[in-house]
């Protein structure tokens, strides 16, 4: 892997913070630095959850509270070691987050933030009401941390502990994001259909990032409890939960380093405002909160993506960024042994659709369709707009379950399976409206398709134990990119490609799932002539390699020279089937396309 100067500089900058406590700086600075570190850890979790995974939480302060109160109670009332308190706090927060997550992740987007507001409040009131947690006075007399008999009570020593923890979280998170589970998490932001079609279990990954963010918050709470040596309910209320989200959004919620920038900005700004505003405006009102609120609105008006992209943009002028993810040049060891599906022998029956029907209320979108595809065939499913082609496509790809009838793939019934399970059986697909993560490179987007080809867990990814498998997956993705002819765009951001190239990218992504049948949903729609020709060449090449393809199109010219057989639909039913040349002369088809003479 090439050396990455920007990355090194970022870490060097981070290390500079660690030198702080040995310098003769005032204690006040150390205190501010401690809080920046504590807040950054929580904000980092929010970057993962909100910026990358697309879920919003106002309740992180409550998880900080769970971590802090757990260790506080165990080390005071029970007299246990703070290290046991850390472990217990992580378990409590993790379990709570997994429970709450499993309830809310399946609901639509805005329910989660509202729910987090509610449980943030209810936990806050609970901390303040429970007898054994000291009611609103909280718990005090919490012991300081110690390692091998060394006392860590001094704020300067705690500073090092906090920033080392932050550094650890940062390292693990950066590793996680640049891995198989990380790509699955990034895919979540695109909704449900695309990741599920790549075999990614979206619900599990949502709960995972929710729990991870809670674990980071809990760690921050543990550090806080042993730094402050006392806890009370106030710092775990809703306002703090809102401020954590602020920090992440102001710093740049989609960027890991933005969390630290945001926490630094907000903490520094607040302490400055608290010092200066009363001198200017008098102390009759709570002006810092007004200025704070106004600044938030202004920052979002002028920098909607937060401050980090601006900083990174300026830096990129001096030092153009290098690709973050690079595939190995030569096949990594063991690449040849990766499991590959054996292609069924040419001519054998692979897809069998019999009497498939889909009803939406009184509307029959697909009416008892029957057709089949044999291995090595390119079959076109055509028909005028509104004929039910896309619904038929969704039945085969598992986006919709069939109302009646059966669909078999290689002898197994698939009409009631989820798309996640169908892709596992060897059906890859592309989308009519491309589903890409625009700011990620072509390589990273295509590698999402290789999800099912790897097994590395989030833990092994965070600790870099997955590097061998990761190299295999990236090499696999790079191979597919070259196979479809996008090799020169390997490290280009997917969003900057032309539409035709994006469609081809999606085919490469589908090829990564190692399909025996490829479903293409209107791949030629909106393409220019040259792009259509390139696409047709690619499909011919895939056919020559033994791939079976089902092509949904309404562009007659495009399918004519390309397909072995055509199935024509109108008003949900099959009106014709046969060789392209026959279909071209078929009276019924001509009537359907050109309008019948009545």
């Amino acid at each position: 892997m090439k050396s990455n100067t920007t990355k090194k500089l970022q870490w060097a900058f981070f290390a500079w913070f660690l030198i702080f406590p040995v310098l003769p700086v005032p204690n006040y600075w150390i205190t501010i630095g401690n809080y920046i570190g504590l807040y950054s850890i929580v904000a980092l979790g929010l970057v993962l959850l909100t910026g990358i995974g697309g879920l919003t939480s106002f309740g992180q302060a409550a998880f900080v509270g769970l971590g802090a109160y757990t260790t506080a109670y165990m080390s005071t009332a029970l007299g246990w070691s703070p290290w046991l308190g850390l472990f217990a706090g992580l378990v409590v927060s993790g379990v709570a987050a997994a429970l709450i997550g499993s309830i809310t992740v399946r609901l639509s987007g805005h329910f989660l933030p509202l729910a987090t507001i509610a449980w943030g409040l209810s936990l806050y009131y609970l901390f303040g009401t429970l007898e054994f947690l000291g009611k609103y006075d909280g718990l005090s007399g919490i012991p300081s941390l110690s390692v091998f008999g060394q006392d860590l009570s001094s704020p300067r020593v705690m500073y090092v502990v906090i920033w080392l923890s932050l550094g650890g979280c940062l390292w693990a998170l950066l590793n996680l994001l640049n891995s198989r589970p990380g790509r699955a998490i990034r895919a979540l932001a695109k909704g449900k259909t695309m990741p599920e079609a790549m075999g990614i279990n979206t619900a599990t990954y949502k709960i995972l990032i929710f729990a991870l963010a809670a674990l980071m918050a809990s760690l921050s709470g543990w550090l806080y409890a042993h730094l402050q040596r006392s806890v009370s309910a106030t710092p775990f209320g809703l306002h703090m939960g809102i401020e954590y989200l602020f920090m992440a959004v102001v710093g740049g919620v989609g960027h890991v380093w933005g969390a630290i920038l945001g926490a630094t900005m907000m903490t520094g700004l607040k302490s400055q405002l608290q010092d200066w505003l009363p001198l200017i405006l008098g102390s009759s009102g709570n002006f810092e909160i007004v200025v704070f609120g106004v600044l938030i609105v202004l920052i979002l008006l002028f920098a909607r993506d937060g401050l980090w992209p601006m900083v990174a943009g300026v830096w990129a002028n001096f030092h153009p960024p290098q690709p973050a993810v690079v595939a190995p040049e030569i096949a990594p060891e063991g690449f040849g042994d990766m499991p590959r599906r054996t292609k069924p022998s040419v001519g054998s029956l692979i897809l069998e659709v019999s009497e498939a029907r889909k009803q939406f209320g009184g509307l029959v979108a697909v009416k008892d369709m029957t057709f089949e595809i044999r291995a090595g065939e390119v079959v076109g499913l055509i028909g005028p707009n509104g004929a039910g082609k896309s619904t038929m496509f969704n039945l085969v790809s598992g986006v919709l379950p069939a109302s009646s009838g059966e669909i078999h793939f290689c002898g197994k019934r698939i009409d009631q399976l989820d798309s996640r399970h169908i892709v596992k059986m060897g059906i890859g697909r592309s989308f009519q409206h491309v589903h890409l993560i625009p700011h990620l490179s072509v390589l990273e987007n295509v590698a999402m398709g290789a999800h099912l080809r790897g097994h590395s867990s989030p833990l092994s990814a965070a600790l870099r134990w997955d590097r061998h498998e990761e190299a295999q997956l990236l090499f696999l993705a790079a191979e597919q990119i070259r196979r479809v002819g996008l090799g020169e765009y390997m490290h280009t951001a997917a969003g900057s490609l032309a539409l035709g190239q994006q469609r081809i990218l999606e085919i490469a992504r589908a090829l990564c799932t190692d399909p025996t049948l490829l479903l293409l949903d209107e791949p030629a729609a909106g393409l220019r002539l040259k792009e259509k020709e390139a696409l047709a060449d690619l499909i011919r090449q895939l056919k020559a390699e033994g791939m079976s393809v089902l092509l949904v199109e309404h562009d007659m010219d495009f399918v004519m020279g390309l397909t072995d057989r055509l199935v024509v639909m109108e008003f949900g039913s099959k009106i014709a089937e046969g060789l392209p040349a026959e279909i071209q002369k078929n009276e019924t088809v001509l009537a359907a396309y050109l309008g019948g003479i009545e």
């Binding site: 329910f111 509202l114 209810s122 009401t129 979206t202 009102g285 909160i289």
Partner: protein, 349 residues
């Protein structure tokens, strides 16, 4: 617990529920038209109640000064936007004139009225109307300044902006009204006995106002063309613009209504409870819980959710008063779990 206590708690719960219903509806309204989760709702509760209290005690309502300041700011934003866009389109003189009337002349008129009329002797309805005449334009101005420029932004960004506005209004509330809370005169001393239960006129007024508002909103959004146009805006901004619906108008209208409903809720609770500048936040959040119970979409369901929240709060304050808030806010978890199980599929973007 005997029937008497049960009935008193029920009456309490339903009265509070009626207030939460107003708040829940305002939330649903703003969310469904602008996609903003309107956290500053709570501040309007305090602003409304404390302004009526100031009027009743014969003080100058300092909210007028804020209205004039925010009005001036709004006009500056309008003027600035018009000048900035001069390269693409001519300065909209008529629009700016209206803006000046709305944002400069109107607050000045309110100031004159506040100074010249002895408001403490006026009937309570007039005092409430005058308070609403301040808070409703304030809501519209806030929409213009903070939300309209980023109407296309994601729900998350809009939510954060709402939080920013909430902070600013909270701090300003402390400055304007001071740290102490107040109560207002009661609407009526009248009460009646139904069976063994004493029904206060106060409760009946609150419930009646709330029911009328629910009915009016329901009819407006489900039966009138303009109401349907507002809902169209929520579903698809661009589509609504293409068929000629003014999306900015819709946003102004939603914020004005929400500000009005919020301050009305404040006015309704002020005779029975001490309302401070920061009381509203938690009250509004209970409105949120009610709205979520109703699924953030339906007015009658939100009202039912509000009654549930009110009753739950009332009975839990009797049995486990320390855990009252915990119980109310935890209600949301089983409700969401139930919705999650019944909704089946997640949404698509």
């Amino acid at each position: 617990m005997d029937m008497g206590v049960f009935a008193v708690l029920a009456q309490d719960g339903i009265t509070n529920g009626a207030v939460y219903a107003l708040l829940a509806m305002a939330l649903v309204l703003v969310f469904s038209v602008t996609r903003v989760i309107f956290l500053p709702q709570g501040e309007f509760i305090g602003y409304g109640a404390l302004t009526v209290a100031a009027l009743q005690s014969g003080q100058y309502p300092r909210l007028v000064s804020l209205l004039m300041a925010v009005g001036a700011l709004t006009f500056c934003v309008e003027l600035g936007t018009a000048l900035y866009n001069k390269r693409y389109k001519p300065v909209p003189k008529l629009h700016l004139m209206w803006s000046a009337i709305e944002n400069l002349a109107y607050p000045a008129l309110i100031w004159v009225l506040a100074r010249s009329i002895g408001w403490q002797d006026m009937p309570m309805a007039a005092q409430i109307a005058f308070a609403l005449a301040m808070t409703i334009p304030l809501g519209i101005m806030i929409y213009r300044v903070a939300f309209q420029p980023m109407a296309e932004a994601s729900v998350l960004v809009l939510l954060i902006v709402a939080v920013g506005v909430h902070f600013a209004m909270l701090g300003l509330g402390l400055f304007i009204f001071g740290p102490e809370g107040s109560t207002t005169r009661s609407f009526t001393e009248w009460s009646t006995e139904i069976g063994a239960m004493l029904v206060s006129g106060q409760s009946l007024v609150v419930i009646a106002v709330s029911l009328v508002m629910i009915g009016a909103l329901y009819v407006f959004f489900d039966r009138s063309l303009y109401g349907k146009a507002l809902r169209a805006t929520a579903v698809n901004r661009k589509g609504a613009q293409l068929v000629g619906i003014g999306t900015s108008q819709a946003g102004r209208m939603a914020f004005g209504l929400a500000a009005g409903l919020g301050s009305l809720a404040g006015v309704l609770i002020a005779p029975l409870n001490t309302v401070g500048y920061d009381t509203g936040f938690v009250v509004a959040l209970k409105g949120f819980v009610a709205a979520i119970v109703g699924g953030l979409a339906s007015y009658p369901l939100a009202a039912a959710g509000a009654a549930l929240v009110g009753l739950l709060e009332s009975y839990s304050s009797f049995w486990a008063s320390a855990y009252k808030e915990v119980i109310v806010f935890t209600l949301i978890i089983p409700v969401l779990a139930w919705r999650s199980l019944t909704s089946g599929h997640g949404d698509e973007e």
